[in-house]
């Protein structure tokens, strides 16, 4: 049909990437940052963000060499069939792990913050069912839900930052960079987990309408989380100081609690409610990645039956950890594995260039 939209629009791409990255971690990122970098937490988060933007750029460049393929297909082309499949399976396992980690973290936080007497299982199963419904609708349903949720979510986060801006005590930042820049860089690698979710960039190019502008809008989608997280951590450490921040389990909630509006006694509950949106979109894109990769690794087209196979798996995986230290350990693993998954785009790109796979010339040949 004339000028009918045939794929994801540019705005949808940005919304999807942003909401995949902004997720469960938003309530605890100030703590992680303060633990890793002390007073320079915001800077570390910002540097990690820059790193994630660069990696997103590499992923996009790589994807653009294969405009009609997702990572599962072109990794097989680049690495050969066997290693490509292994890479695909790693992606599947990784997605499931992240999904379960986020789900568990989410359910734990919800138990502490909102529903102290509701069993974990119930909150998790309910969430999984809603995700199932969304992913079952396909990528177009996922991106459209993201589009709708982008604005309210941003509004609440920006309000939280904005209302607390006047409370920031700038004198705390006098001791910034007292240990030099190196520890900050080191800390930055510890907080890359915050931005995880932009791996969705590996998968979406074949569905995008305007493939030329993928770079601009993909990057735009990754810039927004950087601003949100850095702003949040900056305000948080400015208000409470690095020591207090690192001792709070969910510091962002405390930040929201500072806000008192006449008719809402506790702004933090509102924050938690909208944070559910962020968690939901992240989980959705990971479930999509997992089921999509698994399907394509097995050489099939319809991924919808695989969602049903993966869901119980994710549930079991998220119910397995016994205590918070186990969960934190998984968190650390996820942090590094996720970083390496994103980083794997660099060797893939190099090999692709060396082996002359993909690119404009090849695309025309096909």
């Amino acid at each position: 049909m004339q000028n009918q939209q045939k794929g994801l629009s540019n705005f949808q791409v940005s919304a999807l990437v942003t909401l995949s990255a902004v997720g469960m971690i938003i309530i605890s990122i100030p703590r992680i940052a303060a633990e890793q970098a002390g007073i320079d937490g915001a800077l570390a988060v910002f540097l990690a963000g820059i790193l994630s933007i660069i990696l997103a750029g590499v992923i996009i460049t790589l994807s653009k060499r294969f405009p009609t393929k997702t990572v599962i297909e072109y990794s097989q082309e680049i690495l050969g069939k066997l290693f490509g499949k292994v890479y695909g399976i790693i992606l599947v396992l990784y997605s499931i792990t992240v999904l379960s980690y986020i789900l568990r973290g989410f359910a734990d936080a919800l138990k502490v913050l909102l529903l102290p007497r509701t069993p974990l299982e119930i909150t998790m199963i309910c969430m999984l069912l809603v995700i199932l419904y969304c992913v079952h609708g396909g990528i177009s349903t996922i991106v459209r839900t993201c589009e709708i949720f982008l604005l309210p979510l941003l509004l609440v986060i920006v309000l939280t930052i904005f209302f607390n801006l006047s409370e920031v005590q700038l004198f705390r930042y006098r001791s910034s960079l007292s240990n030099g820049i190196t520890p900050v860089f080191k800390a930055a690698f510890g907080v890359t987990t915050a931005y995880l979710g932009y791996e969705i960039l590996f998968f979406i190019l074949p569905f995008i309408q305007d493939k030329e502008k993928f770079m601009i809008f993909g990057i735009r989608g990754t810039v927004l989380p950087v601003l949100i997280y850095s702003g949040l951590v900056f305000v948080m450490i400015g208000v409470l100081g690095p020591t207090t921040t690192s001792e709070l389990v969910y510091p962002a909630i405390h930040l929201a609690r500072q806000i008192g509006i006449e008719f809402i006694e506790r702004f933090d509950i509102l924050f938690i409610i909208f944070w559910i949106l962020a968690v939901f979109t992240t989980l959705t894109s990971y479930l999509y990645m997992a089921s999509f990769s698994l399907t394509r690794v097995l050489g099939m087209r319809n991924y919808k039956p695989f969602i049903l196979i993966l869901l119980p798996l994710c549930y079991v995986a998220s119910i397995l950890p016994q205590n918070i230290s186990e969960i934190n350990m998984i968190g650390k693993i996820v942090n590094y594995v996720g970083f390496f998954v994103a980083l794997s785009s660099i060797p893939l790109l190099i090999i692709a260039v060396i082996r002359k796979k993909g690119g404009k010339a090849n695309a025309e040949k096909e």
Binding site: F11, Q12, T118, I122, I148, F149, R266, I276
Partner: protein
């Protein structure tokens, strides 16, 4: 999976198809071809219609040659004046006078053309050579004229039956806007459309649907604006309709809609011609069903349910405010009771302390948990609404007063419910009536009850999950393959001008993109 597929075996389908094939309606098998003999044709009509008392058979002779003729029509569907003065009188007496004047007689072989050319003074006539077409036309209110010696019939249009006059649209009244609504007669409705748009490109096509009812279904679109693919899609869906009776527009809507697992309508149903014509200009198709005063708009967006013609008659700032109120109202109508239950049961900390205390104080005497209280009150108000809608106007007011007293004051005094709950229920009820489209409003209202249950079990987390669920549902609905939630998802910034905000009239230069019109430019002025 395989078992299900086997059931879908085409062989089974054939069996069902055979069983459903139309059976001959009369017990005597009748050869449906027309013959040259009047008596034979006459008897064929009689075989079908003799048992019906409203069928009129009238035999007479034409001219001095006494050519046998017969009129067949259905009493009540034709205008008697026309039959008497323009058909029977000229044929029976004027022909004789004419013959006397020219001193000649009309020969049987030229009678047919002579009658058409000189005798009958009816504007619209048709010829038909088959019995079933003639039968259908007679049953739709035409008069069939059989002339001896011809194997074709003359069909004379003398339709006229009692109809309702144009009246104020009952379900969509406006303050500033036209006062006329569609009626039950298809012709009147198409005329209403024509009067509003004299563009020769506005096409109104008619097809007959319903195996037995043979209901006229008209669809209108504007050539050059409406996307041809959309028209094809509609025609294809209409052609698949195979049912005995098309009862109304709402019935047809459910036969051709995309998704039946939803409380929300996927076509806009309106009885306002002004709304209809505006939709036509946006590249949409209008479907009118005979005997139904409602028009279907295809495709439609969710946002359209919040638009009313009077928005465009007021200044844009005012209309935008009203639009915003409507959107907020829809949100209240769905979520208020659920949020109330969740907050009172799980998160009393969310509300300011004083209010929380007064709520708790008001609830002291109430024996039920808030969910029971809420469901009870919401059900009561639905009962009141339903009984008020069914009763005649005079009694309806009584019900309103009684209901108002019962759920307002008496229920609180009796300790069945708290005053806050009454406010919540009243707010939801009023809010749901703000939405201009009835079918959308009632769809949204239905969602309230499952939401209350979720709120009672999972608190605000459940409400949020339900909110997410509703949103996923909304974005996955299609209206004739078009996106239901435009311009929000997919986001179309240009169409945001006519969304929650109704932009200034001079700024709305393009048609909305949802139905993919061929011609996007609506306005060419500064």
């Amino acid at each position: 999976m395989k078992i299900i597929k086997r059931n879908k075996n085409p062989k089974n389908k054939e069996v069902i198809g055979e069983r459903q094939k139309p059976q001959p309606q009369s017990e005597d098998r009748v050869n449906l071809d027309l013959s040259k003999n009047l008596d034979e044709n006459y008897e064929k009509f009689q075989a079908f219609l003799k048992e019906s008392t409203d069928a009129v058979f009238r035999r007479f002779k034409l001219g001095q040659n006494k050519i046998s003729c017969a009129l067949i029509y259905i009493d009540g569907l034709v205008e008697k004046e026309v039959v008497h003065n323009s058909i029977l009188r000229p044929m029976m007496s004027n022909v004789l006078e004419y013959e006397a004047m020219i001193e000649d007689v009309i020969k049987p072989e030229e009678a047919y053309n002579f009658i058409i050319d000189h005798v009958i003074s009816v504007a619209e006539i048709k010829e038909t050579e088959t019995l079933d077409e003639a039968m259908l036309l007679v049953l739709s209110g035409e008069v069939a004229l059989i002339i001896d010696g011809y194997d074709k019939l003359i069909i004379l249009s003398a339709r006229g039956w009692s109809t309702r006059g144009l009246s104020d649209p009952q379900s969509e009244s406006v303050i500033r806007g036209a006062r006329e609504g569609f009626t039950e007669t298809l012709r009147t409705n198409t005329a209403l459309l024509r009067r509003k748009c004299k563009d020769p490109n506005m096409v109104i096509r008619t097809i007959r649907l319903g195996r037995r009812s043979k209901t006229d279904v008209a669809y209108a679109y504007i050539k050059g604006i409406t996307n041809p693919r959309l028209i094809e899609e509609l025609e294809e869906r209409l052609s698949k309709v195979d049912i005995d009776l098309i009862a109304s527009a709402g019935h047809l809507e459910q036969l051709i809609q995309d998704n039946s697992l939803t409380p929300l309508p996927q076509m806009q149903v309106t009885e306002r011609p002004d709304k209809t014509i505006a939709n036509l200009m946006e590249g949409r198709i209008i479907v009118l069903v005979d005997n139904s005063p409602f028009a279907l708009t295809i495709p439609t967006t969710f946002a359209q349910f919040f638009q009313s013609p009077e928005d465009y008659n007021e200044r844009w700032i005012v209309s935008s405010f009203i639009r915003f109120i409507r959107w907020a109202a829809s949100f209240f109508a769905v979520f208020t009771p659920a949020v109330y239950i969740a907050v009172v049961t799980y998160h009393p900390g969310l509300i300011p302390t004083r209010l929380a205390l007064s709520i708790a104080a008001a609830r002291i005497g109430v024996p039920f948990p808030s969910i029971i209280e809420a469901v009870l009150m919401e059900l009561t108000i639905e009962l009141l609404r339903e009984s008020g809608a069914r009763l005649p106007k005079g009694i309806g007011q009584t019900i309103g007063i009684v209901g108002g007293l019962v759920i307002g004051d008496a229920a609180v005094n009796a300790g069945l419910t708290s005053p806050i709950m009454v406010i919540i229920v009243a707010l939801t009820a009023i809010a749901s009536f703000v939405i201009p489209t009835y079918s959308a409003a009632i769809g949204l209202r239905t969602m309230r009850f499952p939401l209350m249950l979720i709120a009672a079990t999972l608190g605000l987390y459940g409400v949020m999950l339900a909110f997410i669920f509703i949103n996923i549902h909304l974005v996955s609905i299609k209206s004739f393959g078009m996106n239901y939630m435009t311009p929000q998802a997919p986001t179309i910034f240009n169409d945001m001008k006519d969304f929650v905000i109704r932009g200034p009239a001079r700024k709305m230069k393009k048609r909305p993109v949802q139905s993919y019109p061929i011609d996007m430019i609506r306005m060419d002025m500064e």
